[in-house]
């Protein structure tokens, strides 16, 4: 069932033009000029219930703006948006009950209260039945280990602790949809893994639809089979991550550790990407030569002590798309 749908979504911002110097500042007292910025345009999204989607793009691409329209904070300039069947900004109260949000940069917890009281207040706000509340809190505590800092004031929590609290808060009322805006930013590796585990579990156990915006592509690789790429306000790719990797990630790398000090290396079908003493990195096009063939050729020609295959990393793929623009044929939306 389609749970999120946007049609030709567009958002335009107006801001004042600043003029330089004291003369300009005085002139501004009497008259002002405005400039318009199109933050988001022609965004057509369709998400099915229970999906996890990665929403990626460079800074200023319009990710946050889109999310804010989906969560009912911003009103679109034109186009339509429906989340769980309702228009978010028109029915904020109702929408609020359907969604949960985690902002990486800002907490939704109550700053001056102990964490426990923050949860109790949220229980009252979201009208979570007491037994369900107790059940959820127990469950979250198991996965996120909250008991250790339940009595601490929210403003005194470390980033990792606060983030875990925010995740629990977002899921407390069993929302149908969860928006995660840069949820792993600033966290250490252990905390990141815990968070990803939590999200995967919630999606698996409860069928919660997840929209994840992030700069950490490891989040996406771990969680989101489908990604939507936005750049300069428009969607440039909407499809399966695997397919993107297939499309763009044609180059694999064979890393070999040489047994002898060969002055020069050359292998048919591969390009010497890097040579550092006894380690050589050979780049090859997966469509032109198979790994098996290449390995045979290497073994036939050189003596090696170790080898490994590196897949194209999502980072470089996406970076190329950001900088070069998406050029392959468009894949069917939804993959």
């Amino acid at each position: 069932m389609t749970i999120i749908e946007t049609v030709d979504l567009k958002k335009v911002f107006r801001s004042v033009v600043r003029r330089p110097g004291i003369g300009g500042a005085f002139a501004a007292l009497f008259s002002r000029e405005y400039e318009e910025k199109v933050a988001v345009e022609n965004v057509n999204l369709s998400l099915q219930e229970g999906e996890i989607v990665g929403y990626l793009g460079p800074n200023g691409a319009g990710k946050s703006t889109t999310i804010k329209m989906l969560t009912g904070i911003l009103v679109p300039t034109s186009g339509s948006v429906r989340v769980a069947g309702i228009v978010p900004w028109k029915h904020r109260q109702q929408n609020g009950q359907n969604i949960g949000v985690v902002f990486g940069q800002r907490s939704q917890l109550y700053w001056d209260l102990p964490l426990r009281e923050s949860f109790e207040l949220l229980r009252a706000i979201y009208d979570v039945p007491h037994d369900r509340f107790a059940q959820n809190m127990r469950h979250f505590n198991e996965i996120l280990d909250l008991d250790r800092f339940m009595e601490t004031l929210v403003r005194q929590l470390s980033l990792g602790e606060r983030m875990r609290g925010d995740f629990a808060a977002a899921m407390l009322h069993d929302p149908k949809i969860v928006f995660l805006d840069e949820p792993t930013i600033g966290l250490d590796v252990v905390a990141k893994e815990a968070i990803r585990e939590f999200v995967a579990t919630m999606n698996r156990e409860r069928g919660t639809t997840v929209i994840l915006t992030t700069h950490d592509l490891a989040d996406v690789e771990r969680l989101a089979p489908r990604i939507v790429l936005i750049d300069e306000g428009t969607v440039i790719y909407d499809g399966q991550l695997a397919a993107l990797r297939e499309e763009y990630g044609v180059y694999r790398t064979l890393v070999i550790t040489l047994a002898e000090n060969y002055p020069e290396i050359s292998v048919e079908g591969a390009q010497i990407h890097e040579r550092d003493g006894s380690i050589a990195r050979l780049r090859f096009n997966r469509h032109e030569v198979t790994a098996e063939t290449l390995i045979r050729r290497v073994l036939d020609t050189y003596r090696i002590t170790d080898l490994a295959i590196e897949e194209p990393d999502i980072d470089s793929i996406v970076r190329r798309i950001y900088t070069e623009g998406y050029r392959a044929q468009p894949l069917p939306i939804g993959g």
Partner: protein, 264 residues
């Protein structure tokens, strides 16, 4: 030193103008603040024409003297009022490191102040002087600037004392608020209406009465000032200001040395 200060004025001006509504609104507020004070006096004296022998014209002049001293203080020495906050957020320690006398450094910090209050105060003072019928003779022209500057020193001194207390107590907002309220509201009326204890306090402890009351008794040719003091005492304001400021400065240096000594 002057170049630094001048530079800060330019920044203030640019900042103030950039936030255009900001600048206009804060100027409007200044007008409203003083306007409502004077309007209150006017309304009250409209129904009750005399207060201990002082009428509205007298009170208008009384207010003008205070307002001018206050405006100069707020425009030039606004930095001092922020000292407690600087101590709290650690900014103050940065000032200690500078090769400037600390008090000068504090005063030279740029703020949001634009001289709108000063302009208003000057304009009002002229109008009030004319309206109250005070004789503008040589003595007036000579003494009023000195009296006003003395008043500025008194207000500066009190702010300095509160700032010094912040070295020990950090949260002095409540104290500052009370003291300022005492200064601003109690000086609107001739101190003769207060009980003896308060009159003594305002004359010899926190000499706010010297900011405007005593000088006004002189210029308005009142027969006698409060506490039986002769009106000419009003001309002592510059001296009172210097002494009070001197005492405050000593206190400030004492507090500063203790603060530096404790080690941060």
């Amino acid at each position: 030193m002057r170049a630094v200060y001048g530079q800060h004025w330019r920044i203030n001006l640019l900042t103030a103008l950039e936030y255009r509504e900001n600048f206009l609104l804060w100027s409007a507020f200044t007008v409203v603040y003083h306007g409502t004070a004077i309007a209150t006096l006017w309304v009250v004296l409209h129904t009750f024409p005399s207060m201990n022998g002082w009428d509205f014209k007298d009170m208008a002049f009384l207010y003008g003297l205070w307002m001018l001293a206050h405006a100069i203080h707020d425009t030039v020495f606004f930095g001092v009022a922020n000292v407690p906050e600087y101590i709290r957020d650690g900014e103050f320690d940065r000032l200690l490191v500078r090769p400037l006398d600390t008090l000068f450094a504090v005063i030279a910090i740029p703020g949001q102040i634009f001289p709108d209050e000063l302009i208003l105060a000057l304009g009002y003072f002229v109008v009030a002087t004319v309206y109250s019928g005070v004789r503008v003779d040589a003595i007036f022209v000579l003494c009023v600037p000195l009296v006003v500057l003395g008043g500025t020193l008194i207000e500066l001194a009190i702010n300095l004392i509160v700032a010094t207390i912040a070295f020990w107590f950090v949260r002095v907002d409540a104290l500052r608020w009370i003291v300022l309220q005492l200064e601003q509201e109690f000086t609107r009326y001739p101190i003769g209406i207060y009980s003896r204890g308060v009159r003594l306090f305002l004359t010899f402890v926190f000499p706010f009465a010297f900011m405007n009351y005593f000088p006004a008794t002189y210029f308005l040719h009142k027969s006698e000032g409060a506490l039986g003091l002769p009106p000419v005492v009003g001309l002592l304001t510059p001296a009172v200001g210097l002494i009070f400021f001197g005492a405050a400065y000593v206190f400030w240096r004492f507090g500063l040395n203790r603060y530096k000594g404790v080690g941060h």
